[in-house]
């Protein structure tokens, strides 16, 4: 098969659809754009990453709090978490959203939150349910992920009362909490978008430092990905994905994760806490509700079977398949 394109470009450049002498392209490019002076460049870099004021009121101060996300209707894990956090001396308990999806009987979650005095923000689930969206707005891009996300959402949507949905819409989108001398920003996905995924392997240190600068806080606490992690940054600040209590962390263990935070003299104490609960009972309840066997398998094995396509290469390599 002869391909004239193999030799077509000798001495020539491709300028759009045209072939032009290389020198003509180089010359056009040399003067293109709007190069700034050195001073203007430094100013442009500073203003692009500058912080802005946030009117969100600051709660606290506290010395020790518990923070969790992604309940996914797992009322059994939530009940255990409230006991565990109280035992560890949490002065306040915060939930970063996504109360529904995946698990059974969404109405069982709200009374537990009230009983535990849990202070919550909206996740994408609450936003979607309160506003009557057709989908969970999880932010998946693969049809396999979206298929199971749709089953989850439809089940939760059908089994939530209008009162519960309306209450979800009253929750704030973010909170600020003082812990010792630190100010924590609590969000669902990221400070920028409710459904942005902050996975450990795709949330590099320089990115997090700029995010903290822009949001004028000492730590960002988020969830949404289902996988917990903590980065203590070179600036002395912290970024924490507090994990989810709705399903295990795709590591072959059936327990779920939440986070204890503590004010310490040397800064923020962050403890990622594994939490056991009666996962067999949850699996049985999911089966009674007719939820997909793929979801039940995750609860029983600790390995994800759905919503895997969104995982970055590193987190994906750590999964079973």
């Amino acid at each position: 098969m002869s391909n004239p394109k193999l030799t077509a470009h000798r001495g020539l450049a491709t300028w759009g659809e045209k072939l032009v002498p290389l020198a003509a392209f180089r010359e056009a490019v040399a003067g293109a754009g709007s190069p700034l002076t050195a001073e203007a460049r430094a100013a442009a870099l500073r203003s692009f990453t500058a912080g802005s004021a946030d009117p969100t009121p600051v709660e606290g101060p506290f010395n020790r709090i518990a923070v969790f996300g992604g309940v996914y209707n797992n009322h059994l894990a939530l009940a255990r978490l409230l006991e565990d956090a109280a035992r560890r001396g949490a002065e306040a308990v915060y939930c970063l959203g996504d109360l529904g999806g995946f698990g059974p009987n969404p109405e069982k979650v709200r009374p537990l939150l009230a009983q535990g005095g849990v202070l919550a923000i909206q996740g994408n689930y609450e936003e979607s349910l309160a506003s009557g969206r057709e989908d969970c707005n999880c932010g998946y891009t693969d049809p396999r992920d979206n298929h199971f996300a749709e089953i989850s959402y439809r089940y939760t949507e059908r089994n939530c009362s209008p009162e519960l949905k309306a209450w979800m819409g009253t929750l704030p989108k973010r909170r600020r909490v003082r812990l010792g001398d630190r100010e924590l920003l609590l969000v669902h996905g990221s400070p920028r978008r409710v459904n942005e995924f902050l996975f450990r392997s795709t949330s590099p240190v320089p990115f997090l430092e700029v995010l903290l600068d822009q949001n004028r806080c000492d730590a960002i606490l988020c969830t949404h990905t289902g996988l917990h992690w903590h980065r203590h940054l070179p600036s002395g600040r912290d970024a924490v994905n507090v994990g989810v209590i709705g399903r295990p962390a795709n590591d072959g263990d059936v327990h779920v994760w939440y986070t204890m935070l503590e004010a310490r003299d040397e800064g923020l104490g962050v403890e990622l806490v594994p939490l056991s609960y009666d996962h067999q009972a949850l699996a049985a309840e999911m089966r009674r509700e007719g939820l997909p066997e793929e979801f039940v398998a995750t609860i029983l094995t600790g390995w994800w079977t759905t919503c895997l396509e969104i995982l970055p290469a590193r987190e994906r390599a750590a999964s079973r398949s």
């Binding site: 300028w15 754009g33 870099l45 990453t49 392997s201 990115f207």
Partner: protein
């Protein structure tokens, strides 16, 4: 490209999340008939980038809080410094390489796996193929390439790296579920249990303008076309492209001098007009070149 009297909408850079590198220039060991940048073994429109050039941009990117780095060309692995470039990049963030798969021998795949394991951040590979057999792929990518691409994918899988397979809609069935299933079957047959696939529309510029036809004059965006929630779906709202000749607005328009924004990332933080026909494809198809 001038359109008298019709103003193009402008897109601001809301954050610089993704930095692309034209690290392989426009040089490629293939000359695919649908290449929107017309890459070939003799196309020097853009040259290979050196490690030193890449480092200069990485230093600036760190200050801007870039989240992810993508490498393309041309064929990135023609660049003799490519693995050193990846190593430097993986110190500061996750990296993805877009490759045609021909230079992925077992030794290179093992080195890439070692680079991935040594970093805190993800290293991802994306391999292009344009059909599920030689009969459909080879007329586009070149004779004998189907088998060689599959060989590269096999070598990656054997080394423990599961690449994303990228298919353009030159393969007409690819957009439909039935077509995707054929690719999944092909990949499962070579031992990839959980295949990954990304389908991209074609950009009717460069070589593709000759193969499939150029844009029609009406395929342009104009003021008033902005969706209610803005232009956040366009990658130019959160990316820039670094080349050996300066910074361009996006990975698609590198052969358009008018799409160059400056010499450094700081020069390129302003807004850009959507006045190219390819912008129409990004908008209408909701394209993002990132995975």
């Amino acid at each position: 490209m001038e359109r008298p009297g019709i103003a193009a909408p402008r897109v601001s850079l809301r954050s610089l999340d993704v930095l692309w590198f034209q690290v392989g220039g426009t040089l490629c060991n293939l000359a695919c008939t649908h290449c929107f940048v017309s890459c070939s073994p003799t196309n020097h429109t853009h040259e290979l980038m050196s490690l030193a050039e890449v480092r200069r941009y990485l230093d600036e990117a760190v200050r801007l809080g870039v989240r992810e780095y993508y490498f393309t060309g041309g064929e990135p692995f023609l660049n003799p410094e490519m693995e050193a470039i990846l190593s430097a990049t993986l110190d500061v963030g996750p990296a993805t390489v877009l490759t045609n798969g021909l230079l992925l021998d077992p030794a290179r795949c093992a080195r890439l796996k070692a680079l991935a394991d040594a970093s805190d951040y993800s290293l991802d590979l994306r391999v292009s193929i344009d059909g599920y057999d030689a009969g459909s792929n080879d007329p586009i990518r070149g004779e004998g390439t189907f088998d060689r691409i599959l060989g590269g994918i096999r070598n990656l899988a054997a080394a423990g790296l599961n690449p994303v397979i990228t298919v353009t809609e030159v393969c007409r069935e690819a957009a439909a579920d039935s077509g995707k299933e054929k690719f999944f079957a092909l990949l499962r047959a070579i031992g990839i249990e959980r295949p990954r696939l990304k389908i991209l529309p074609v950009f009717r510029i460069g070589a593709e303008a000759e193969r499939g036809g150029a844009y029609e004059s009406w395929q342009r965006l104009r003021e008033g076309d902005a969706p209610v929630d803005g232009w956040d779906h366009l990658q130019c709202s959160a990316c820039r492209m670094a080349t050996g000749q300066g910074v361009w607005v996006c990975p698609i328009l590198v052969n358009e001098p008018s799409a160059k924004m400056g010499e450094t990332l700081a020069d390129a933080l302003g807004s850009f007009p959507l006045d190219h026909a390819a912008c129409w494809t990004c908008h209408v198809y909701g394209v993002s070149c990132r995975t």
